[in-house]
């Protein structure tokens, strides 16, 4: 496949995953807004922005955690920043616009149905702003937008020919996912106290909703309850999101998808082999280093998470030099 086409699909995967993740984060935060105390809402926003490594446009006013009115205005501004802010390159609208722009450039390798889905999703939010979605129920908007991303991947799953194009779409999607989940868990550690002794609250009582929402964002609540516990033990929960091979939003799952995709596209050239090795090391981090950590040592946990995130970034560079922008001599070897 033409390198530029593969690169386009890779970025479509990344941008859509990014857009979808933001939809999930904000939708979940709105759940919190419904009935939680103001300081808890404030912490929710903190986690959200930290996880995305974003400072709201113009900075964030000092939070006044006692003031209900402030809290609502704040929510409006912050949601706007993550959804429509033109200068935020990772806003939901920009993510979809970027995905569409990439698709437009490689449209000859994008299925007609896929293109139509992406084009319509973008046109849907191209001309609206935060006031439009605030008028009614903002959650509807985020659900609808996430749905359109899900539809995209659903069509891709059912229509796409399994050539390099498919695997680069997967690579982009899952490298992005791994990085986003790493960011989210790290932010959780920074914003909330992590202490297993305080855990053990019944999942239904709502006592530990900050952790419940982490599961919700990762679509992991039901499976956690089914396969682990009705009690949110912090370290078990983090372990679930990092290392569970069957949870589609776990880092372990994303890493397996990355390895599989790289294996499918690899061509034996030296740089390609290097990218494959890097993916193997990422998997090894989760399979071997992670289980050996001391779960009570937050710094040790954060260090491994940091290494995983770093590994993803390097993998991105490796893929770029191996497949997209290799030097001519390197290309001739194949």
């Amino acid at each position: 496949m033409l390198s530029r086409s593969a690169e386009g699909l890779y970025w479509i995967g990344r941008y859509l995953e990014r857009g979808q993740h933001s939809c999930r984060l904000i939708a979940d935060q709105f759940e919190t807004i419904k009935d939680r105390p103001v300081n808890q809402i404030d912490k929710g926003w903190q986690r959200l922005f930290q996880g995305l490594q974003r400072v709201p446009f113009g900075g964030r006013p000092n939070s006044n955690t006692d003031d209900e009115q402030f809290m609502l205005v704040d929510a409006y501004t912050l949601a706007d920043d993550l959804t429509f802010e033109p200068s935020n390159p990772n806003s939901i609208r920009n993510s979809l616009a970027n995905a569409r722009e990439n698709a437009r450039q490689v449209r000859n390798v994008v299925d007609e149905d896929l293109w139509a889905c992406l084009n319509l999703s973008f046109l849907d939010l191209r001309d609206i702003d935060i006031t439009d979605i605030w008028k009614d129920r903002p959650n509807e908007f985020y659900r609808r937008t996430e749905d359109s991303v899900r539809t995209f991947f659903g069509i891709a799953e059912s229509n796409m020919y399994r050539d390099d194009g498919w695997y680069f779409l997967q690579l982009g999607r899952f490298i992005e996912r791994a990085q986003l989940i790493v960011g989210l868990i790290k932010a959780q550690f920074v914003v909330y106290s992590v202490n297993d002794s305080k855990a053990g609250v019944d999942t239904d009582s709502g006592g530990d909703t900050d952790w419940l929402s982490l599961l919700r964002i990762c679509a992991a609540r039901d499976s956690y309850r089914r396969f682990h516990s009705l009690y949110y033990e912090h370290s078990a929960l983090v372990n679930f999101l990092v290392a569970d091979p069957q949870l589609s939003r776990s880092i372990r799952y994303a890493s397996a998808q990355i390895c599989e995709a790289l294996e499918a596209v690899s061509g034996g050239r030296p740089l390609v082999v290097e990218a494959g090795r890097r993916a193997g090391r990422l998997a090894a981090l989760i399979d071997y280093d992670w289980p050996n950590r001391n779960p009570a040592d937050n710094n040790a946990v954060l260090a491994i998470l940091h290494e995983i995130g770093d590994s993803c970034r390097r993998l991105h560079d490796d893929i770029d030099t191996a497949y997209f922008s290799y030097a001519i001599g390197e290309g001739m070897d194949g």
Binding site: M1, L2, S3, R4, S5, A6, R104, Q105, V106, R107, N108, V109, E112, W115, A116, N119, L120, L123, D164, F168, V265, G267, R269, Y323, Y326, I328, E330, G331, M332, D333, G334
Partner: protein, 492 residues
Amino acid sequence: MAAEQTGANGPAEKSQLFAGYKINPAFYDEMFDATGAPREHCRELWKVLRAIPHEEITTMQERVERSFLNEGITFSVYGEEGAQDHIIPIDIIPRLIAAAEWESLEKGLHQRIQALNLFLADIYGPERIINDGVIPPDMVRGCPQFRNAMRGVEVAHGIHVSVCGTDLVRSHDGFMVLEDNLRVPSGVSYMLANRAAIKTTLRDVFRRQKVRNIDGYGRLLRQTLAELSPHGDADPTIVLLTPGIYNSAFYEHMFLAREMGVELVTGNDLVASNGFVYMRTTAGLRRVDVIYRRIDDDFLDPLVFRPDSQLGTPGLFDAYRLGNVAIANAPGTGVADDKSMYAYVPEMIRYYLDEEPLLANVETHLCRDPEALEYTLDNLDNLVIKEVGGSGGYGMLIGPHATTEERNAFARKINASPENYISQPVLDLSCAPCLTDDDAAPRHVDLRPFVLCGREIRLVPGAFCRVALTAGSLVVNSSQGGGGKDFWVLSE
């Protein structure tokens, strides 16, 4: 039948699509004869259309336009912000042509592309037509589109022009060629998109009218290009070279690449090395055999043409000259569709084929000739003046529609460099009914069929029909308010 009943009732008659249709006898009408009766081959369509309530037709029209936007069938206008999202407005009333008439057009187009290819092979080769005094040497060598680099280059099968989009117009005297587009003619995707949309919208009448199929264009184009491959292999690697997404015809490039199942590349995706051209793929560099280029000569290879071009691939022309890659259309074809060279095409047909031209030319005065210059300047108010190298409706003056100041300004330009201008009579372009806000009204139309030339000449029975959507306007270019229509070639 519902149609007849509607027509018989007074009030219903008023809301009927063609109730207020006024035929201007000065122009040939594609659907109605001089008495106002529908032409025989249009009867079926006319009956169906007049039976549809006006609101319903308007809804159909809106639905088609929306589908174009949703599917991203768009073009851009140079110099406009957010230009990527224009659609070429489509009028849902198709234009029809009877089988026999199409057949004679087809013959004329075959003849013309043959002569043009022979001409190009000649002027970059032995120059017989110049030596025999048929065409003045400076007209050829002095033409800005003449490419010195092409002299003596062996072009596969002598085919310089593989894809030609010929602009045809019709007056009361019949069809005439207005322009041969031999460089990078566009519009074929709109022919296919218009067809897809109208076939869905008017499916019953489409069936009944026995419209000939045009779906094979992508296959024919691929076949034509494959025949140019210098390596003679059965399945050569073909690519479509585009300037990129900001080009006004990008949609078409993408569309054709997909139709043909070939890669869509930009200059940066190609690498010329050791006299061959490669494309950059995820599995390393892969040799390219045929390039269907949709960028101008100037931007193909900065080493040979424009050195400041960012779009091209350095070394590409060398690989071409060595015969290791084919480029379609060949560089330098523009010399044959230059507006002054146009006047000589009938002569070319006689010279190379020893035949009389089957398709007429529009009477053309070359201002380089002093008599023609004088005539042109004396008759500015009823002539169309065109810049020799202009295209897309830019750089032209329609005398009768221009103000005195505009005419005077043009006269100064013509006097300054007469060889840059030609003049033609204002054409009585034919009209076809178009949907307007109130009902159907006549609008001027032209026609661009696409002729393919590989080992043989191929032509799908269809064309991009362009419409000047503004009442009275003669400018059909999509960059200047023109639209499109589906064009139905009927079988026997």
